[in-house]
């Protein structure tokens, strides 16, 4: 009889705050060891935690995005265990009353959409890092990460198999980055998953005994770990063995999971409400304010860009690749006529994106603002400069800080030639110098014509209007 693989996922999502959950120390990645560990984070006696408003708001934002219940009153609890990367002797978390209860995440599968139920999402603090390299037989402790705000998102065991689990994790990753509560950087540990895996005979109502594989920080490892774990459990059961409930680690090099060496009692966390922290109360007005700030879903926005803004699916895809890009695009489109939108979309998805990539910058840090792009587009729309001069010359100059479009156009003398007489003179010169191309063109070679247009554009330093050049050339060549 066939086996069914049952998976539930717990995700530690690092919230995108500047300071820690309970202290004013910075959360930036990559600082020298312990440079961002304050008296609260290293647990000096006499200090008190104070909760970070932004972390609370982000948790609420997530709860609203998944349609969960926002508990108006939630409670911070101490999860007690002794490990030097958490010098207080406990982690501040939420236990009986988390900030978010329930909610759902819809995932797209080959067989159609599936609704995955969420159990809860609660606020907690991260632990520090232990470095086991040899420090004279001792372990080094870096507490920079200690106290970083996390939202732990727990799914119900609704997922069937590794592929569904990965689809869930990807969808969740997509959501938390889209609503801007997590930077999503898995290599830096901003999004870490634990997989609870069990197996049962198809048709069984009861869940099998599960194992928990911790700290899967890539989708590939997650899929491999769940597949390995399911195979291991099925083999065990088919050979008359029993699955033991335990915590395991995935070893990507060997492609296998193995039990973590933990002492017995390690899971007796003796939770109790943290007397240092008062109940966390979220007001209706705070919830409504956050609800108003929630962006449209990526899918809805993509649809709107295609249907209402007249963009191609490819353009819509690029402009919704992250929330920063879509925000930038929408503020660029605002107040512009309909026919401007596809052009502006091309500028953002093309030359601007290329420049951002080259300089490894996020669009939110772009040197060129939506206002500047609008101004620049105005000069193209009114025929003052050509589109190629705009993206080839003005945009790079703007990026380099040469000022606004008007100033760059004037300084670089980029105005299109509006003087037909002057242009005709240049065309005559080009024709005189290129008797061969003229002949070829008259013999029916279109390529020769394009070459002539190019020569005229070059002679005018790109200031001619290509349409006008075409007209004059055709008139002069008698076709």
């Amino acid at each position: 009889m066939a086996w069914e693989i049952v998976v539930g996922i717990e995700t530690h999502t690092q919230l995108r705050t500047r300071s820690k959950m309970f202290s004013g120390a910075a959360t930036a990645f990559g600082a020298p060891p312990n440079a961002q560990a304050s008296a609260v984070d290293i647990a000096l006696p006499g200090v008190l935690p104070v909760a970070n408003a932004a972390a609370v708001e982000m948790a609420v934002k997530f709860g609203l995005a998944v349609g969960g219940v926002i508990n108006r009153r939630s409670v911070f609890a101490r999860k007690n265990y002794f490990y030097p990367d958490l010098p207080k002797g406990y982690q501040i978390s939420q236990y009986e009353i988390p900030i978010v209860a329930g909610g759902v995440l819809k995932i797209a599968l080959a067989a159609g959409e599936k609704t995955v139920r969420l159990t809860r999402a609660h606020l907690e603090e991260d632990a520090g890092k232990s470095l086991h390299e040899d420090y004279h037989g001792m372990t080094g402790i870096d507490l920079n990460r200690a106290g970083t705000p996390l939202l732990e998102i727990v799914s119900e065991p609704d997922l069937r198999g590794a592929k569904e689990a990965v689809a869930y994790a990807r969808t969740l990753h997509d959501l938390v980055t889209w609503i801007h509560i997590c930077d999503g950087n898995m290599e830096e540990g901003s999004f870490r998953c634990d997989a609870n895996v069990s197996v049962r005979r198809v048709g069984d109502k009861n869940l099998g005994t599960r194992s928990e594989t911790k700290n899967l920080n890539s989708f590939v490892f997650m899929e491999q770990a769940i597949e390995f774990e399911a195979r291991r459990q099925i083999e065990l059961l088919e050979n008359g063995g029993m699955v033991v409930q335990e915590t395991r680690l995935y070893d990507p090099e060997k492609g296998e999971t193995r039990p973590m060496r933990t002492k017995e009692d390690a899971h007796d966390y003796r939770y109790f409400p943290d007397p240092d922290l008062l109940p966390l109360v979220v007001s209706d007005s705070m919830i409504e304010k956050i609800r108003a700030s929630l962006p449209k879903s990526r899918g809805d926005l993509r649809k709107e860009l295609i249907e209402s803004y007249g963009l191609t699916p490819a353009q819509a895809q690029v402009l919704t690749s992250n929330i920063e890009t879509s925000t930038f695009a929408l503020s660029t489109f605002a107040g512009q006529p309909k026919e401007a939108w596809p052009n502006l979309a091309n500028w953002i998805a093309g030359p601007l994106a290329a420049r951002l990539n080259r300089e490894n910058k996020a669009i939110s840090d772009s040197n060129v603002t939506p206002e500047q792009l609008k101004e620049l587009y105005g000069f193209v729309a009114s025929g003052v400069i050509s589109s190629s001069a705009a993206t080839g010359v003005v945009l790079p100059a703007m990026w380099d800080g040469e000022g606004g479009a008007a100033r760059i156009i004037a300084q670089r003398d980029l105005k299109q030639m509006s003087d037909t007489g002057a242009l005709e003179k240049i065309v005559d010169e080009v024709l005189a110098k290129n008797a061969k191309q003229v002949e070829d063109y008259r013999a029916g070679r279109q390529k020769a014509f394009n070459s002539l247009v190019g020569q005229v554009m070059k002679a005018t330093q790109g200031k001619a209007n290509p349409g006008q050049v075409n007209q004059i050339l055709k008139a002069k060549l008698g076709r």
Partner: protein, 95 residues
């Protein structure tokens, strides 16, 4: 309820408190008195009363998300028993 010697050993191990065999009788007796007190509290009829998670009937103030702490590592590490390369050193732990 009263604590068995096994329960006491487990509890002191979890709390990382060293209690010698000689002391265990006294410690168990004291803890049992606390538990007796809790038994009394649990006998109170609390039906219809909303549970409190804190003795004070006030709510958690929140702080703005700004970095207010500067790097005081050298100050903190001056009193640490062992440090190296900016790290706090502790007896080796391997999980």
């Amino acid at each position: 309820m009263s604590l068995s010697p096994d329960q006491l050993r487990r509890l002191t191990r979890l709390a990382r408190i060293a209690v010698s065999e000689d002391e265990s009788g006294t410690v168990a007796e004291r803890l049992n008195r606390v538990l007796g007190l809790i038994d009394q509290l649990q006998a109170v009829d609390t039906g219809g009363i909303e549970p409190m998670s804190h003795a004070l009937d006030v709510v958690q103030p929140l702080r703005a998300d700004t970095v207010t702490e500067n790097d005081q590592r050298s100050l903190f590490q001056a009193v640490a028993p062992a440090v190296a390369d900016g790290l706090y050193l502790v007896p080796r732990v391997i999980e």
